[in-house]
Amino acid sequence: MNSMNILIVGVGGQGTLLASKLMGKIFIDSGFDVKVSEVHGMSQRGGSVVTYVRAGEKVFSPVIDLGEADMIISFEALESARWLPYLKKGGTIISNTAQIDPMPVIMGNAQYPENVLGRIQDLGVKVVSADALSLAEQAGSAKAVNIVLLAIAAKELGISKEECLEAIRATVPQKTIEVNEKAFELGYNI
């Protein structure tokens, strides 16, 4: 790997920041220069959120541009579609199958598109999807959705299990380590 651009997208409050922090740490521990760009503030509140993780020999810009992402890790199906223009040709989407209706859909002013992930696949994009919420609940906490998705992405990227678990143990609060380890195993083995 010479360089890696990963977009982590989802809905504010889903734990995308922890996922990007962990990704950043894993790449640093592998000896890369890393930049991670986060969204704080207003967008925390149920809005569409994005964080960028970039790794390479030397990274200048903190943001990933249109058509530059090797991978999009999406915490919600519709967000995979929203951020699709950022994916490189030949890139991969890791997506939660969860559907979270945005307010215009709740209000009946817009439609949530049918079969979002299938339609993305039809464009020739590799999509790896999973019901991350069920797996997280199985591990013991609905909050571990981020770790489940991180695990699927890590496997896809060929990052070793031990490397990831080490980063997780060093980053998450002590009392959640067990749940997160379990969530990681479940994600890694889908």
Binding site: E38, S43, R45, G46, S61, E68, A81, M103, L123, A142
Partner: protein
């Protein structure tokens, strides 16, 4: 020496620690907040949240008088509030070094305007440094204190969202303790009356010249300004985030003049650099300040004619403008509904807005989470200008339209915003015989910026107990006789109380009090669920705009309300909307 992946803001905090800073006072504001949060973790530094940016700036000025290295941080619009002390502190200079960080928000991720704070540096005639990544942020912060003490000036550190909120590698060294400098009374230097200020102004003009020379010379030796020569065809002058975008987009197809000091700008260095390339671009987000400076120097550059004055830049915008390269991208075949931010499930503001929704009120709004109530379906805001304006602008509105207007209008303002600059507006109402009704949405925390303590919640920045301002007593002391406290989850009680206060022929303060649902100390009742036998799918519950409530198709094809148990916090506001009693505890 330790290598770490730090946010730009955390790197500034590390720089403050290493520079031996002793006193920090700030007001939270995205994207600047994490600087002070991170700095408050160091025991060697005294840190505090001030009620507003003007107070924060003045505390830092006072600490500098007292001989300490001092600091304050704020967002771009916060510097407007602190502009008064800034402009005169420039004349006075410093004793202990003083730095103020100001974080701009190009693209307005979380702001009400897109102003360029470099104008303040120019107008106040103080030096301004601008880092391009976290390593710069650490180094520039530390060096800003050398500049401050050497040139006898406060220094501004300009950040932007992408620098503040991006993580990159920094190398940490240790703290270098700085002894308090001696304090000596010096009226000529520190008391700004006309006679002293005239002399001080002359000193400031000379200082500006001296720092320009520094920017042309030593700043290059230190690496704060830097030339990177690759091409004699294309040259780029950039600073901060735009240097990072340009360097990525153009690689070695261009030469760069990276500026770390953006006020005063170097002169000779720009002229020299312009001679080394055939085409010279200035890339700067927001206003064309460097470009105007180049024109003044007689250097011909391309800037605003190809780069927009709006929003954030990125690699492709620069590559397209300079190299004419455009990228092909994938796109989803179909409409993608927008996902705007919303009030969280369980948010007390929702209860208040829902209670008042049918009263057909003019709502004078303010800055905070509750500004989100302006959007459908709550649609409970008419205006929002700046911190504190809800109260004073309501007084203006009602003064223009007469006493009947005051009976159909309210101001909504959060607890922290009220302490920031709502109090003075309330004094104005009382003093000038207004009868307006002001509602303080007291959720015991500064919410939008990510949960900072404030003078009303009885906790310091470190979470230690302190004296809490008594809002009821404060209102009474100002001269408000009618002070009411309501629970925003008590929809009927809230509605009735506000209706009564609107009718009163004197000013009222209603305190809508319930802590933010996201506070760890708040215990929630069990989530609610929909009784599908009773629900007829009338959608009335959707009018509260709760992200936990949506519609779901049943197996029999009928659409009914659905409450997501993972999101619902059991606040019960939606229960009030259902005339069939279909929403119940699980």
């Amino acid at each position: 020496m330790e290598k770490k992946l730090l946010l730009g803001n955390e790197a500034v905090a590390a720089g403050l620690y290493e520079a031996g800073v002793r006193v920090i006072s700030s007001y939270p504001g995205t994207p600047s907040t994490e600087i002070t949060e991170a700095a408050s973790k160091y025991d060697e530094i005294y840190s505090e949240w001030a009620p507003n940016e003007k107070v924060a700036f003045e505390v830092a000025v006072g600490a500098s008088f007292g001989g300490a290295r001092s600091f304050c941080a704020m967002k771009h619009v916060g510097l407007n509030v602190a502009a008064d002390p800034l402009y005169t502190a420039s004349y006075i200079g410093v004793n202990g070094g003083m730095v103020c960080a100001v974080a701009d928000d190009p693209g307005m991720h979380s702001s009400q305007n897109e102003q360029d704070s470099r104008h303040h540096a120019i107008a106040a005639k103080v030096p301004m440094l601008e880092p391009s990544d976290s390593a710069d942020a650490l180094f520039f912060t530390k060096y800003a204190y050398e500049l401050s003490e050497r040139f006898d000036t406060p220094v501004l550190l300009r950040l932007s969202t992408r620098i503040s909120h991006s993580r990159s590698l920094v190398t940490l060294t240790g703290r270098e303790e700085k002894e308090l400098r001696e304090y000596k009374r010096d009226v000529m230097k520190n008391v700004m009356m006309p006679a002293m200020a005239r002399k001080a102004h002359a000193k400031v003009e000379a200082r500006n010249k001296a720092i320009t020379e520094w920017a042309d010379g030593e700043a290059f030796e230190l690496g704060i300004n830097r030339e990177e020569l690759f091409s004699d065809e294309i040259g780029v002058i950039a600073a901060g985030s735009t240097y990072a975008y340009a360097r990525e987009a153009l690689g070695e197809k261009a030469s760069y003049l990276k500026l770390g000091i953006v006020n005063p700008l170097p002169e000779k260095a720009i002229i020299e650099f312009s001679k080394k390339v055939k085409r010279l671009y200035v890339i700067e987000e927001l206003d064309d300040i460097i470009e105007t400076h180049c024109i003044k120097l007689g250097v011909s550059v391309i800037g605003r004619e190809v780069f927009p004055p709006l929003g954030e830049y990125n690699q492709s915008l620069i590559a397209k403008a300079i190299l004419g390269e455009a990228k092909e991208t994938l796109s989803f075949d179909g409409e993608i509904p927008a996902r705007p931010p919303v009030l969280c499930a369980g948010c007390p503001h929702r209860g208040l807005y829902y209670a008042l929704k049918d009263m057909n009120l003019y709502v004078s709004g303010d800055i905070g989470c509750y500004t989100l109530g302006a959007q459908a379906p709550l649609s409970m805001m008419d205006t929002c200008v700046c911190m504190g304006a809800s109260v004073s602008a309501l007084h203006g509105f009602n003064t223009a339209r007469g006493p009947e207007s005051a009976k159909k209008s309210i101001a909504v303002i959060g607890d922290s915003t009220f302490m920031h600059s709502g109090i003075t507006g309330l004094v104005d109402i009382v003093y000038n015989k207004g009868i307006s009704t002001v509602i303080v949405l007291d959720n015991s925390i500064t919410g939008m910026t990510g949960h900072q303590n404030n003078p009303l919640n009885g906790k310091t920045i470190k979470g230690d107990p302190t004296t809490a301002v008594n809002l009821e007593a404060l209102a009474k002391a100002i001269g408000i006789n009618r002070v009411r406290v309501v629970d925003p989850f008590d929809i009927k009680g809230t509605k009735q109380a506000v209706a009564e206060e609107l009718q009163a022929n004197e000013p009222s303060l209603v305190i809508s009090r319930r802590p933010c649902a996201l506070l760890k100390s708040v215990k929630h009742p069990a989530p609610l669920t929909v009784d599908f036998d009773k629900c007829v799918g009338c959608k009335a519950c959707l009018k509260v705009g709760c992200p936990a409530i949506s519609q779901k198709k049943q197996e029999n094809g009928k659409t009914k309300a659905f409450i997501d148990p993972n999101q619902c916090l059991g606040c019960g506001v939606c229960v009030e909307t259902c005339r069939l009693g279909a929403i119940k505890e699980i």
